[in-house]
């Protein structure tokens, strides 16, 4: 069981309340403690909230989806990242995540 900081985003066309339901459900099913999600800003190319997470004191992050931020940014955080929608965790599921990112990029 981990303490995970929630991360949702206004950059995806899914209401924040729905994103939060997905995040909360993921944490409940996997017995993680959820710290209230912060919302990423809407401006293209800006990931200020995720940058703030670099210095966060918690076991990891739980994001609504792996597509709420660029792959390179997720990998650079140096933290465990849970993707609630896809049910994958970095770095443990790196290979599966890379496959998904490649499939969606083509």
């Amino acid at each position: 069981m981990s303490i995970l900081k929630g991360y949702n985003s206004t950059k995806v066309p899914v209401p924040l309340k729905v994103q939060n339901l997905v995040i909360r459900d993921y944490c409940d099913r996997n017995h993680h403690t959820l710290l209230l999600p912060n919302t990423e800003f809407i401006m293209p190319g800006t990931y200020m909230i995720l940058e703030d997470f670099r210095t966060l004191d918690c076991d990891g992050i739980v994001a609504y989806s792996m597509f709420t931020a660029p792959r390179e940014l997720w990998l650079s955080l140096g933290k465990e990242v849970h993707f609630a929608l896809e049910n994958h965790v970095l770095p443990q599921d790196r290979e599966s995540c890379d496959m998904i990112w490649k499939l969606c990029a083509s």
């Binding site: 206004t10 919302t39 703030d52």
Partner: protein
């Protein structure tokens, strides 16, 4: 362009556009007292560890009360009518901020509400249940000051910290501010705990962006012309 706004409202409007906020006495003493009793601000027994639980309990009391939103609106009804218009929508839930002295665990880093998908047409009504000054208050960057959003929120704040304004607000006063301006709070280095609530108001018919009617807002002053327009249908041919 001709403006039919009165000189008093014009002055208020220009001041708001220039500064990004207005501090004014609460318009309804009874409403303020009602909210004060609901919130019941106290330092007793409050620690960084139990702070969030306390916050959630008070928010639940505020949001469960069927009179609290009306009372809150009454704190600044005329000001909101002047700055936004008289057909209003109000955020469905209150936000409550409790900041213990020297506690960095419940900070709100610099941000603008519109960056998170809020409508740029909304204003925030901020009410304090104590005197707020310097780091016991919120800060806002005046409209005339430029800024950039590179890096983390702390990077953004460090670039603007010499130009932000911490608002001096006495208990009994309210603030209406423009949330498209960078604002937030810092660690409270003053005496006493800050207890403030905030809620957003917008023109009913202005764009909602990501926070729509139903999910986040509901109408509070629906005027006759709007009621007529919403239910109007052209006559049908027989």
């Amino acid at each position: 362009m001709n403006s039919f706004i009165s000189p008093e409202e014009t002055e208020l409007t220009e001041r708001f556009l220039r500064d990004g906020y207005i501090i004014a006495p609460a318009e309804d003493e009874e409403a303020l007292q009602y909210l004060h009793e609901l919130v019941a601000p106290t330092d007793e027994g409050l620690t960084p560890q139990n702070l969030n639980e306390c916050r959630l309990q008070v928010i639940a009391k505020l949001n469960d009360s069927d009179k609290s939103r009306l009372a809150y609106f009454c704190l600044a009804q005329n000001l909101l009518f002047t700055l936004i218009g008289s057909g209003l929508a109000m955020q469905k839930k209150f936000n409550l901020s409790i900041q213990l002295p020297h506690d960095g665990t419940s900070l709100l880093p610099v941000h603008a509400d519109s960056w998170a998908g809020d409508s740029p047409y909304q204003l925030v009504l901020w009410a304090s249940f104590c005197d707020c000054t310097r780091t016991k208050s919120m800060f806002i960057l005046p409209p005339s000051e430029p800024f950039t959003v590179e890096g983390s929120s702390e990077d953004v704040y460090q670039r603007i910290k010499d130009r932000v304004k911490f608002l001096d607000v006495k208990y009994g006063e309210v603030v209406v501010f423009n949330p498209t301006l960078p604002h937030g709070n810092r660690v409270n280095e003053e005496e006493g705990t800050r207890w403030t609530i905030n809620c957003r108001f917008k023109n009913l018919w202005s764009p909602y962006e990501k926070k729509g009617p139903g999910t986040d807002f509901e109408p509070i002053t629906l005027r006759a012309a709007s009621k007529i327009g919403m239910s109007y249908e052209h006559p049908k041919r027989i």
